[in-house]
């Protein structure tokens, strides 16, 4: 079966029903190992035990941007090829991405208080992530409140592509402006600045969070396909009743 064949909702449903239990099991196993490694990682020499917040804050931050990336690719599929599965993928990714962005903001705030002495500052990194969270809410509002789902989807896809401009701003905000938020310490020229005893649990948790994202995303896509079937059947029912 070619990959393009999976872009058919019925075939996609068959695949998801087969893959989802495995994805969920792998996610649980990765979290079990990742959490044990994270909670037993040594304290940071400056931050002490609060460095443990990093094991959830950083993966959530990565996934908040990855979620927008998934939505952007899906938005292209919706606007350029008008593919129904692309629209399903975009709509299903929005609440998952918004949830991870919310986790990123709250855990960052809880990490900031003991580390910086404040829950919040209007610096470029924090503000650009807050803007992304508000954009997620805007996209969700368009998907969930539009009377005509087709128009709502196209409007959400346009907003998603406009919002994609914010992704490089988030990534490079710590380099372009003087921020309280620290600069990149993992993906940077010259390699990671984090000690391996903390870096490996972080990477493990990042993989676990990524599996969690795709498990929830695929499950939400399955729900959305079923919801569209229900809508289509109700329209048929109404047409028959009128005839």
């Amino acid at each position: 079966m070619a990959i393009i064949d999976l872009a058919n909702p019925t075939r996609f449903l068959t695949l998801v029903n087969r893959v989802l239990p495995w994805l969920a099991a792998i996610t649980i196993a990765l979290f079990a190992v990742g959490l044990v490694r994270a909670l037993h990682a040594p304290d940071d020499y400056q931050q002490g035990a609060t460095v443990k917040i990093m094991f959830i804050h950083v993966p959530a931050a990565w996934l908040s941007m990855m979620g927008w990336g998934v939505m952007s690719v899906a938005a292209l599929g919706t606007l350029v090829w008008r593919h129904p599965l692309a629209d399903v993928a975009g709509k299903a990714a929005a609440p998952v991405g918004a949830a991870f962005t919310f986790i990123c903001l709250v855990t960052g705030s809880l990490w900031g208080r003991p580390t910086w002495g404040t829950y919040w500052v209007w610096d470029a990194r924090l503000t650009s992530v807050l803007v992304m969270f508000l954009l997620y809410l805007g996209v969700l509002a368009l998907y969930w409140t539009a009377e005509d789902p087709g128009r709502g989807s196209r409007a959400a896809a346009v907003l998603t592509l406009v919002g994609a401009v914010n992704i490089p701003i988030i990534k490079f905000s710590v380099d372009w402006w003087n921020t309280l938020h620290q600069p990149a310490s993992i993906m940077r020229m010259g390699g990671s600045a984090i000690d391996p005893s903390i870096l490996w649990p972080l990477l493990f948790m990042a993989v676990a969070f990524t599996f969690l994202f795709f498990t929830l995303h695929f499950a939400a896509m399955r729900n959305e396909i079923l919801r569209r079937r229900v809508r289509s059947m109700r329209i048929m029912q109404a047409q028959e009743a009128r005839a």
Partner: protein
């Protein structure tokens, strides 16, 4: 495990994460069973999709 003087912040961060992820997972699971139930009801009443009718012909 000693979480130090800022244990409240660490516990709160993990608690919020568990709460949000559990809420999201519960929403996805409940939504799935709701959609399956509605689809089952419609099929029981003999309602079919247009694509299903094409397959039957």
């Amino acid at each position: 495990m000693n979480l130090g003087p800022h244990a409240d912040f660490i516990v709160a961060a993990y608690a919020v994460t568990v709460f949000v992820v559990a809420g999201l997972a519960a929403w996805v699971v409940l939504d799935y069973s709701a959609q399956r139930r509605i689809l089952g009801d419609l099929e029981e009443r003999g309602v079919t999709r247009r694509s299903q009718r094409k397959d039957d012909q």
